[in-house]
């Protein structure tokens, strides 16, 4: 896997943040140095890890060139990872960036100095297609796509693939899709059907560890703990741990 990987899906509520933060925490337990960047103005990853803490320096300040990326890094003891947090101000950044020269690679340039300090940089993207997501894609060599096994999520994959094609054509950047993560599944039979559809329609690998839907995951978010600490033996916790191992292989 390359050094920078984005968790992306233009559909919301597919467990992008849940898988990103828990996979990051699991890799950290394996001794890897991980940086997680919360690129969502809703700051879901930031809230899940740090609760209601406010940060003076966030990814917004990095993208507006007020500070360097290393000044925005905060460490999470409970997750064992470094994080560049987000904030709601990020929602207005596209207006600021839109007229800038090299606007699509501002994040890539911002991360250039810090990325070599880490084994992996994970970008938790917002569920929308805009300049922020384009920046994440340009900064990444690999992406993973969390999906729920339902119709709208699957349509989201088509949108992502179209986006990747446009980025390759217009911006000359090729991105590798590492795989699809099946998350929040309820019915095993439906999952098998969805995977069959995915394999027949797209040539993208699907990770073998599927994450079941579980209220315990929400409880872990409330406690600002990774699943490996909050409920390691819960089926969702076990699946997330195994998924992290599978992704690292």
């Amino acid at each position: 896997m390359s050094n920078i990987v984005s968790f992306i899906n233009q559909k919301g509520g597919v467990a992008k943040t849940t898988t990103a933060i828990n996979v990051a925490a699991q890799w950290s337990q394996l001794g890897k140095k991980i940086l997680l960047i919360d690129l969502d103005p809703q700051a879901s990853a930031t809230r899940a890890i740090f609760g209601d803490n406010e940060f003076e320096n966030t990814i917004y300040d990095v993208l507006t060139s007020e500070i360097e990326a290393k000044e925005a890094v905060v460490h999470s003891e409970s997750f064992g990872i470094d994080v560049i947090p987000s904030e709601i101000m990020l929602s207005g950044i596209e207006i600021i960036l839109s007229s800038k020269f090299g606007r699509e690679s501002i994040l890539k340039r911002g991360l250039a100095e810090v990325k070599d300090n880490y084994d992996i940089v994970i970008i938790d993207c917002s569920p929308s297609l805009g300049l922020l997501t384009v920046n994440a894609l340009i900064a990444s060599k690999d992406i993973v796509i969390p999906v729920c096994p339902e119709y709208f999520s699957l349509k989201g994959i088509e949108l992502i693939l179209e986006t990747l094609k446009n980025i390759h054509t217009g911006l000359g950047h090729k991105i590798n899709v590492r795989g699809i993560i099946i998350s929040k599944y309820r019915n095993r039979r439906i999952v098998e059907q969805v995977i069959q559809d995915l394999r027949s329609n797209y040539s993208i690998p699907v990770f073998n560890n599927y994450i079941p839907d579980s209220i315990v995951v929400e409880e872990a978010h409330h406690k600002h703990l990774p699943m490996r600490k909050f409920s390691p033996k819960n089926p969702a916790g076990l699946a997330l741990a195994n998924l992290a191992m599978e992704m690292w292989a």
């Binding site: 917004y60 300040d61 507006t64 060139s65 007020e66 101000m89 600021i96 007229s99 800038k100 020269f101 090299g102 606007r103 699509e104 297609l129 805009g130 300049l131 384009v134 446009n166 980025i167 054509t169 217009g170 911006l171 000359g172």
Partner: protein, 163 residues
């Protein structure tokens, strides 16, 4: 004819035969009746002014403009603050290269020569001896020397001599 989503256009590529060049000025505060411009002078010494607009971020206010320059074109530019009635301040001259991003802090600047002349007209003075006039001229030249480019010093010298 297919429509291209501007999200996937490379902003670093030339538009026709021109490239986008961003110019940014930081650490500057304008009063309500003041406006900031970038005055660009090309190789033919033809000046052109571009209005600079504020971009308010969490930590600062920056003034920004975008100009289109031909490929590998290099021009000179300076920042100008004007009120509705007069030119107030000018900065030193900067080199601007096509396709680059220029970000500068507002340097302490001098009041333009037009304002100096107007100031003299407002405050009536007793007539000076030749020696006093020479001293006044030297003080003014020394003051502007510390702040501006040599060619501008020459201009002020010439203006004072004309008086």
């Amino acid at each position: 004819m297919s429509t291209i989503n501007p999200l996937f256009l490379d902003s670093t590529k030339p538009i026709g035969d021109k490239s986008i060049t961003n110019i940014e000025l930081t650490q500057i505060f304008l009063r309500n009746d003041e406006a900031l411009y970038l005055e660009v002078t090309n190789q033919m010494d033809i000046p052109q002014r571009f209005s600079m607009t504020p971009i308010v971020t969490k930590k600062s206010v920056k003034y920004h403009t975008t100009i289109l320059l031909k490929h590998q074109q290099q021009v000179k530019g300076r920042f100008i603050i004007e009120s509705s009635t007069e030119l107030l301040y000018v900065s030193k001259v900067y080199e601007i290269f096509s396709g680059n991003h220029l970000s500068e802090k507002w340097e302490p600047c001098f009041v333009s020569s037009e304002s100096i002349i107007k100031g003299e007209k407002k405050s009536p003075r007793k007539s000076q001896t030749t020696k006093e006039r020479k001293q006044t001229r030297e003080i003014k030249v020394n003051l502007s020397k510390s702040l501006c480019e040599p060619y501008f010093v020459e201009q002020i010298k010439n203006l004072l001599e004309d008086l």
